[in-house]
Amino acid sequence: MTGRSIRAAAATVMAAALTFGAAACSNPGNGAAASGAKDSAVVGIAYEPDSLNPLLGYGKDGNSKIFDGLLAFDEDMRLRPALAAELPDVSADRLTYTYKLRKGVRFSDGTPFSAKDVVFTYRTVLDEKTNNASRTELDAVGDVRADGDDTVVFTLKYPYAPFAQRTVLPIAPEHIAGRQDVNTGPFTTKPIGTGPYILTGWSKGEKISFKANPDYWGGAPAVKKFTMAIIKDDDVRATRLRAGDLDGAILPPNLAKGFEGEQGRKTHRATTYDYRTVTLPTGNKVAGDTAVRRALDIAVDRQAMVDSILDGAGKPAYGPVPTGSEWFTEGTRRRHDLAGAKKILDEAGWKPGKDGIRVKNGVRAAFPLWYLTGDKLRQDHALAYASDAKKAGIDITTKAGTWEVIEPRMEHDAVLAGGGAPGDPDFDQYLLLNSALAGDGFNNMARYVNPAVDKALETGRRSDDKATRKAAYDTVQRELVKNPGYTFLTHIDHLYVVNDKWDGLTTQVEPHDHGLASGPWWNVEDWTPKK
C-alpha cells in the first residue's frame, strides 16, 4: 500500500466514523416539552428496578404505574378495588377468594383485559422456572382459575389472613408476555399494562419516562408526562434538584435540610416501617444469652440515634412495628436505662473484668457486629450501638463487609440489618421471627427461637378476627421485651423535596425498599397542576 492510498483509506474511515456519530444522534423527534411545564413532572430516584416485568417481581407491593393489581392500597394503606370490581368474596372456611373483575378495561395496546390474564400472571409467578425471588409471598396459593371472563377464584392451601393484601400484584397481558421467554424476553424492558401510565422509554442507568394513558379506566391523569431520573449519588441528586433539572427527589435528612423553608419547594416526610435492627444470633455465647440481650435492649439510647444520626427524621423502634401504627403494643416502649442494664448483667453473673469488659465463666462479653460496606446510615447505627454497649461493659467490634462476606457469618456474628413491610404485620414478622425459618436464606437472621412467638405468629396469620390478630401480635411484641433476639433501633422517615406546583400530594406509610413505588409520586395520576 502506498502512503497516498493509506491516507485515502484513513480519510474514508474518519468519514464513516463521523457519519456514524451523526446518525446515532439524528434520531428525529419533536422538540422536548419545556421542562417545568405544568403537566409534566420529573423526579429523581435512587434505585433503579432490575426489570419492569411484574412476573419477575416488579411492583409486587402495588403502585407500579404501568400496571394495576386486582386490588390497590389507598393513602392509609387500606385495600380498595382496582382491576377487581369490588373487594373479594371470601368463603366461610377462608380458603376460597373470589374476585369479580372490572368490565371494559383494556391494556394500553387496546386488547381487552380478562380473567385469563390474571390466571396467567399468578401461574407464571408460581412457576419455578420463573426467576422471581418473591415467590414465597404467594406460598399460600394452592390454585388459581378463571370462572368465565370476569371472575377469578383463588384456592388457598391454608387460611392466610393477609392474602388479599398480596393481590395488589400487577397483572401482565397473556397475549404478549405469554409468548416469550419470561426471564429475558422483550416484555421485561417494554412492558404493556392497564395502568395510568404508558412506558415511553427506559434508558438504563439514566431515566424511565412515561406518558399518561388517555384511556385509563380510572380517568386520564392530569400529569401528562412523568419522568423518573435515576441518580444513585445523593449529592448529585440534590445538585440536579437545585439546578432545576428535577421537580422532586428523595434526599437523605442532611441534604433535605438545605432546602428547608425555600420558596416554591416543599419537603414531604413519609413515615415508614423501615427499621434498623441488630441481630443477636442465638448461636453466639454472648449475644445468645437472654440477660445480655435484655441489657443491650435498654442500654441503647434510641432517641440519641434519631437526633444525631437521622437529624430527627425518624422514631425510636422497639420492635418491627412502628410506634405510630395501630398494631403497636402500648407499654412496650423501653426507657434508656444504663444503670438497669448493668444491674441485669450483674445479676446474671456477667462481672466486669480488668479492662472493664464483663466476663462470665471465662467467656468475655464481646462479639462482632457487621454492617454493609458503603451504607453510611448502617455504619452510624453500628458505631452508636457499639459505643452504648461499651458503657454497659459489652465489647462490640464493628466490621464492614458485603453480603457475600456477611452471610456465612450470620449464624454467630451480629449484623446491622434493615427491613420492614407495611400492609400487614404478618409480612415481615413471620419471616423475621419464626423459628422454622431460622437461617433460611436471609429469613430469621438471628435464628430466634421462642415457642410463644411461633404460636402467636401462626394465630396472627390464620385468624381473620381483627381482635384475635391484634392480641397475637401484642404477644409477639411483649415476648420481644422479655427475650429480645434483635435490638431494634430506629424507624427511618423518608424525605422528599418537591416543587410546590401541584395539588394532591400525599405520602403512604412506606416499606424498607424505597424505589419507584414510594414517595409523593405513589399517586402521581391523581395530581392536578396548581392554578
Binding site: 446515532a24 432490575d50 434508558s203
Partner: protein, 321 residues
C-alpha cells in the same frame, strides 16, 4: 501493511479466547454471588429453596469450564446469550449502548488530540514562555486529577453556578425523544471532561517532541534556508515531533476506556461503561465476557492503529513490525 494487519488479527484470536476464559475464571473466584446480585433486595427475604431454584435457572451452578465452553461455542454461532443483570439478550444490551459510548469516546479523543497538539506546538515554540509555563503546570495538575472529580467539578460550575449546560443524561430529563441538538448539548460536559483528562499526555508529548525537533539540524537548516516559520513548524518540526504521539494514541485507548467508565457514571451517560460495572459486580458472565472481548479488541486495534500511523509518518519504520 496488510500483512501486518493480518498477522495481528491472527494473533488476536488466541488472545481474545484466553481473555474470555480469564474473565470467567476471575469472576468465578470472586466473592460475589450472581444469585444475590440477580435477586437484589428481594433476595434478602427469599427462602433458600427459592434462591436455589433461581441458581439452577440461571445455570450458575454449572462448573466453570463447561459454562465458559457453552458461552464460547454459542458466541461463535452469533448467540451472545442473555444478560442476567439487564434481563435481556447481551446483543441488545450492547447494541443499545455502544453507539453512545463511541460518540463520547471519539469526541473526547478528537478534542484531546487537536487541543493537545495545538497547545503543544505553541508551547514548544516559546519554551519557558508564559503560555508554556501556564499550560505545562496545568497539564501536570490535570494528570493527577481523577476524571470523576473533574466531572463533579464541571457539574458544579457549569450546571449549578452558571446554569448553562445540563448536568447529566443523554437528553433533557423531561424529554423522551432523542434529538441531535439535545445530545450535542448534553455531550459537551462529559466529552470535555474526558477529553481534558486525556489532554496532558498529548500536550506533554507534542511539546517535548516538537521542542526537540526544533533544535535538530534539519530544522535549523530549513530555517537557514529562509523558509517561513509556519512551514518550519508544521512541515518539519511537527512531523517528527508527532512520532511519539502516534504511539501514544494507541496506548491511550485502555486509559480512555477506564476514563469513560467513570465519566459515564458521573454524567448518567447511557453508554457501555455503566453496563460493564454492573456486569462485573453482578457476576453476569455472558455480558461481562462480551464486553471484555470488545474492550480487548479495542485495545488491540488501538495498538495496530498507532503502529500503522507510525509507519505511515516515518517510512524508515515500515510495516513489518
Amino acid at each position: 501493511m496488510a500483512r501486518m494487519a493480518g498477522r495481528r488479527a491472527l494473533l488476536a484470536v488466541p488472545v481474545l479466547v484466553t481473555v474470555t476464559f480469564a474473565v470467567f475464571a476471575v469472576a468465578a473466584a470472586s466473592p460475589f454471588d450472581p444469585v444475590k446480585a440477580y435477586t437484589g433486595s428481594a433476595g434478602l427475604t427469599a427462602s433458600q429453596e427459592n434462591l436455589d431454584q433461581i441458581r439452577a435457572n440461571l445455570g450458575v451452578d454449572q462448573p466453570l469450564v463447561s459454562r465458559w465452553w457453552d458461552w464460547l461455542t454459542s458466541a461463535l454461532t452469533g448467540d451472545l446469550g442473555d444478560s442476567s443483570v439487564m434481563r435481556q439478550p447481551v446483543a441488545d444490551v450492547i447494541a443499545e449502548r455502544i453507539g453512545w459510548s463511541a460518540l463520547l469516546a471519539l469526541t473526547a479523543f478528537a478534542l484531546a488530540i487537536v487541543l493537545g497538539t495545538a497547545l503543544g506546538v505553541l508551547a514548544a515554540r516559546r519554551r519557558g514562555g508564559l503560555l508554556d509555563r501556564c499550560v505545562s503546570s496545568l497539564a501536570y495538575t490535570l494528570e493527577a486529577a481523577p476524571a470523576f472529580w473533574l466531572g463533579l467539578l464541571a457539574i458544579w460550575f457549569f450546571a449549578l453556578e452558571l446554569g448553562v449546560l445540563p448536568a447529566g443524561g443523554l437528553t433533557d430529563t423531561a424529554s423522551d425523544t432523542v434529538t441531535a441538538g439535545q445530545v450535542a448539548r448534553h455531550l459537551v460536559l462529559p466529552a470535555a471532561v474526558l477529553g481534558v483528562s486525556q489532554l496532558p499526555w498529548f500536550f506533554l508529548y507534542v511539546r517535548q517532541g516538537v521542542g526537540d525537533a526544533l533544535d535538530e539540524d534539519p530544522v535549523r537548516g530549513a530555517r537557514a534556508r529562509g523558509l517561513a516559520e509556519r512551514t518550519v513548524l508544521v512541515g518539519h518540526a511537527l512531523r517528527s515531533g508527532m512520532l511519539p504521539m502516534l504511539t501514544l494514541i494507541g496506548s491511550r485507548v485502555p486509559e480512555l476506556i477506564t476514563g469513560a467508565l467513570l465519566v459515564e457514571t458521573v454524567f448518567s451517560w447511557p453508554g457501555i461503561a455503566a453496563a460493564t460495572v454492573q456486569a462485573a459486580t453482578s457476576v453476569d458472565f455472558p455480558l461481562l465476557a462480551a464486553l471484555t472481548v470488545l474492550a480487548t479488541a479495542a485495545v488491540l486495534l488501538g495498538n495496530l492503529l498507532s503502529d500503522l500511523l507510525y509507519g505511515l509518518a516515518d517510512p524508515r519504520v515500515g510495516f513489518d513490525g
